[in-house]
């Protein structure tokens, strides 16, 4: 075998491998790089636990976004929705706590329900306007980005909602400490939400008729319609799922901040979309996976954290993340071209 074909062979093996475990491999590389520069700080179990906790917000919203992107849609309004859901959830908690002094669980539960409903309703609006109005998702959700942000600011009068029931901040911040030998592993409570949600979403996408139809609509909407798939229903459901997960992410985010912040999470939609894309989702639809998106979210969070730990300036940090997004999609395109040649 001559030099060139050996090289070609190696490249195509690498690409094949990247298609199988790409995002996981990238995550491994990220951990390796920062870990080797600053092993003590970066690999401290407390730091790892913290990053996982931070990741949960984006990862949860990315799970819903995965459905939207596989169906060849996009939802730019999730950042604003995270803020709005957080504001409504916390406002509800404050109101209910006033009505029922002494109770803690009931106000928190009521707030969570309202936050989730806010997400579901906004997702329904997105989906309904996109399908019934036959408008491009990009435009509709861009409009909703402004509308929801405005609603959040207006509702909260531009100010943070504070004096929340004690204990609410535990959801997003608390960690279990598990002693292992002479060190301690930190596991954030948020994993209790993230992991079951990811498993549920993965199952829904992979093993149900609905999941198959989401892929079909994204792969070729015309074909889906020809095959009797209720495309309108599938699309609306997809945006509702995206809305609910954004609502959940908003509640978690509010918990981490221990307040409802109407001007928080600006631009978070881009991190969420980036997580899905880095995780193998195609903006053309038809491709993407839950595991990929969660790993994508971890990659982005660990990158940010790693940059801070090793002392890269926050400005350079953004440049690196931008490059990673483009590189991830570039490798994916290479893989696909190779695949279609074979």
């Amino acid at each position: 075998m001559d030099q060139k074909s050996w090289w070609d062979h190696a490249v195509s093996r690498m690409l094949w491998l990247s298609g199988k475990v790409g995002p996981l491999f990238a995550l491994f590389v990220v951990l390796l790089i920062f870990g080797s520069i600053s092993p003590d700080k970066f690999f401290s179990t407390l730091n790892l636990g913290n990053v996982v906790g931070q990741t949960a917000v984006i990862a949860i919203a990315a799970i819903g976004m995965t459905f939207v992107i596989i169906s060849a849609g996009i939802d730019l309004s999730v950042g604003s929705l995270v803020a709005l859901a957080g504001v409504y959830a916390t406002m509800t908690m404050v109101k209910v706590a006033e009505m029922m002094p002494g109770h803690i669980l009931i106000p928190i539960a009521a707030g969570i329900v309202v936050g989730l409903l806010t997400g579901a309703l906004c997702g329904l609006i997105n989906g309904a306007v996109i399908t019934m109005g036959r408008l491009p998702p990009f435009i509709v959700t861009l409009g909703m980005l402004e509308i929801l942000r405005g609603t959040a600011l207006q509702s909260a009068d531009g100010l943070p909602i504070t004096r929340l029931p004690r204990g609410f901040s535990q959801i997003g911040n608390a960690m279990w400490t598990i002693p292992v030998g002479n060190t301690v592993i930190y596991l954030p409570y948020a994993l209790l939400i993230l992991i079951p949600l990811a498993i549920l979403a993965w199952f829904l996408l992979k093993y149900t008729v609905f999941g198959m139809q989401v892929y079909a609509v994204g792969s070729n909407e015309q074909t889906a319609r020809l095959c009797g798939v209720n495309v309108t229903k599938v699309k609306i459901l997809v945006y509702i799922i995206g809305g609910i997960t954004a609502g959940l992410a908003g509640i978690l985010h509010a918990s981490r901040l221990n307040s409802g912040q109407p001007s928080e999470a600006v631009g978070m939609e881009l991190d969420i979309i980036a997580a899905v894309v880095v995780g193998g989702g195609s903006l053309m639809g038809g491709e993407g996976s839950i595991l990929g998106s969660v790993v994508g979210a971890l990659i982005i969070r660990f990158l940010r954290n790693g940059c801070v730990v090793v002392g890269v300036s926050p400005f350079v940090q953004r440049i690196i993340i931008g490059l990673i997004i483009i590189a991830a999609v570039f490798i994916d395109q290479l893989r696909r071209r190779k695949l279609s040649e074979e």
Binding site: T208, V209, Y215, Q222, R225, L226, C227, G228
Partner: protein, 506 residues
């Protein structure tokens, strides 16, 4: 005769282990139409890609205008006088005709486009072609035939000496095809050489001077057109004798299984009534754009339309929706395999079972084993060549893709099959298999509607025939009541009725 315009000598090309071309020769003389025939995958496209610089040849020599020729890129080939007109046009729909003709080599002075110059030059080119296309018209407003003229004009705008046409008549009506032939003859007069790739055998004799037949990457024959018969060409193409392209069948028609009365599209462009019996193959002939696809889409519920009656196996289905019709046992095969018929990125199994989730799931949960079993049995039934049911659609040949689309209808237990151009763009071998399959299905008692622009196929296959002209569907003719001339008379609107006595049938 003069020096050849093009001489390709001993061309070899392999992709990995697959030999796409082995030792192919081709000579084209000025003013000559050289037909390139062969099944899909025989190497026609590869040979043309080698010529126009898409792929480099592994071995072999190319002489063009007497000089060694090598293009590293299609643009280089074009600049040197070799233009290729693909089946799918490469036109900017939002730009006017003249801008498309001069796209990439605009007539400009100091970077500013000289529109008047371009318009005049475009008009002059169309005059050479003896046709009138408005240089200012937007391409999106033009019909298929006129778009093709724009492509030809683009080739002439760089003074192409050799024009390659890939399936130029696939989307044209008979009348438009005749018009194209006139244009080709005009080009011949101007000593332009033409390489003409087509699946339509009966065109060859009319337009071709020479014919080269490729099979499995090898040149099987290269002879003057006058020395061969269509039967011989087919034999050379497939390497075996196809005795009966159209299987013989004698269907004793059963009961009526599908009735449509007074279908009317919202703007009134399509009006039709239609009846299909069990075991019957009903053809729908007509010119491209006559409204046949629109009719099928409307009665399948894909586009809105009013209907007085839509009955499937005695059950009323109004208003129609794809889901409802499929439940009642109707299946539609789309004319647009890549754009609508199949999800290219999904697997064979997913495509086959997309319309029948209830067969592969319980309470909304999928069973992959059942999906695989179902797909495997369908693959076997319709004879699809694939590595497994998990293979992606875009890795299959056109013929096999079409079989997947057909298999989906069978998987859904369709009793009435609406087939829109079922053999478009697939090779003769696959065509024969699809004809056999469709005939067998009719024999099993299914009712079949077959829309086709290819008359020999309709006459070979069908028990009865409708003709559509300008959105109006004719009455139903028994196949022995009408002949090709009659169909054309109806389709072009010359006649309102076209019965012939069986003895006169041509």
């Amino acid at each position: 005769m003069a020096e050849p315009l093009l001489r390709m000598n001993n061309i070899h090309k392999a992709f990995g282990a697959t030999k796409a071309l082995s030792g192919v020769n081709l000579e084209v003389y000025p003013g000559q139409v050289h037909i390139l025939a062969g099944e899909n995958g025989a190497g026609k496209s590869t040979l043309m890609k080698v010529l126009t610089g898409v792929h480099p040849a592994d071995e072999g020599k190319i002489l063009f205008l007497g000089r060694p020729f090598y293009a590293s890129h299609p643009k280089e080939a074009l600049q040197n006088g070799i233009a290729m007109i693909y089946q799918e046009f490469n036109l900017a729909l939002h730009l006017p005709v003249h801008a498309n003709v001069f796209l990439g080599h605009e007539k400009s002075g100091h970077g500013v486009i000289q529109f008047q110059h371009q318009r005049d030059a475009t008009r002059e080119i169309f005059r050479r072609l003896d046709s009138d296309v408005d240089p200012n018209a937007l391409v999106s407003r033009l019909g298929v035939a006129q778009r093709q003229l724009v492509e030809i004009a683009r080739a002439l705008s760089v003074d192409a000496k050799l024009i390659i046409m890939d399936e130029p008549t696939a989307a044209l009506s008979d009348k438009e095809t005749q018009k194209l032939f006139e244009v080709i003859r005009a080009l011949q007069q101007q000593d332009v050489g033409i390489i003409y790739i087509s699946h339509y055998l009966e065109e060859f004799g009319e337009i071709g001077d020479m014919i080269s037949v490729l099979r499995d990457g090898e040149l099987v024959s290269c002879v003057p057109m006058s020395d061969v018969t269509p039967d011989l060409i087919i034999q050379q193409m497939v390497g075996r004798k196809i005795e009966d392209l159209y299987p013989k069948h004698e269907h004793v028609l059963g009961d009526v299984v599908f009735t449509v009365e007074d279908l009317k599209s919202p703007n009134g462009t399509v009006q039709a009534s239609l009846e299909v019996c069990s075991k019957e193959i009903v053809g729908v002939a007509g010119l491209v754009g006559a409204g046949r696809t629109e009719m099928l889409r409307a009665l399948f519920g894909l586009d809105p339309a009013e209907m007085k009656l839509l009955q499937v196996l005695g059950v009323m289905v109004l208003p129609p929706s794809p889901r409802r019709l499929m439940r009642c046992g109707v299946g539609l095969l789309s004319e647009d395999r890549a754009g609508e018929g199949l999800a290219q990125g999904l697997s064979i199994a997913a495509n086959m079972t997309l319309s029948i989730p209830e067969k592969i799931s319980r309470f909304g949960f999928l069973s992959f084993s059942r999906q695989r079993e179902l797909a495997d049995s369908l693959i076997k039934k319709v004879g699809i060549k694939a590595s497994s049911s998990a293979q992606r659609i875009n890795q299959l040949s056109g013929g096999n893709q079409q079989k997947v689309a057909l298999a989906r209808l069978l998987g859904a237990d369709a009793k009435v099959l609406l087939l829109d151009e079922p053999t478009r763009g697939i090779d003769v071998g696959s065509k024969a298999e699809i004809y056999k399959l469709v005939t067998a299905l009719a024999g099993e008692g299914k009712g079949i509607v077959m829309v086709s622009s290819y008359l020999p196929e309709l006459f070979g296959m069908c028990d009865s025939l409708y003709v559509m002209a300008r959105g109006r569907l004719s009455r139903k003719y028994r196949i022995d009541e009408i002949d090709a001339d009659g169909v054309m008379a109806l389709a072009t609107g010359i006649a309102a009725d076209a019965s012939v006595t069986p003895s006169v049938r041509g």
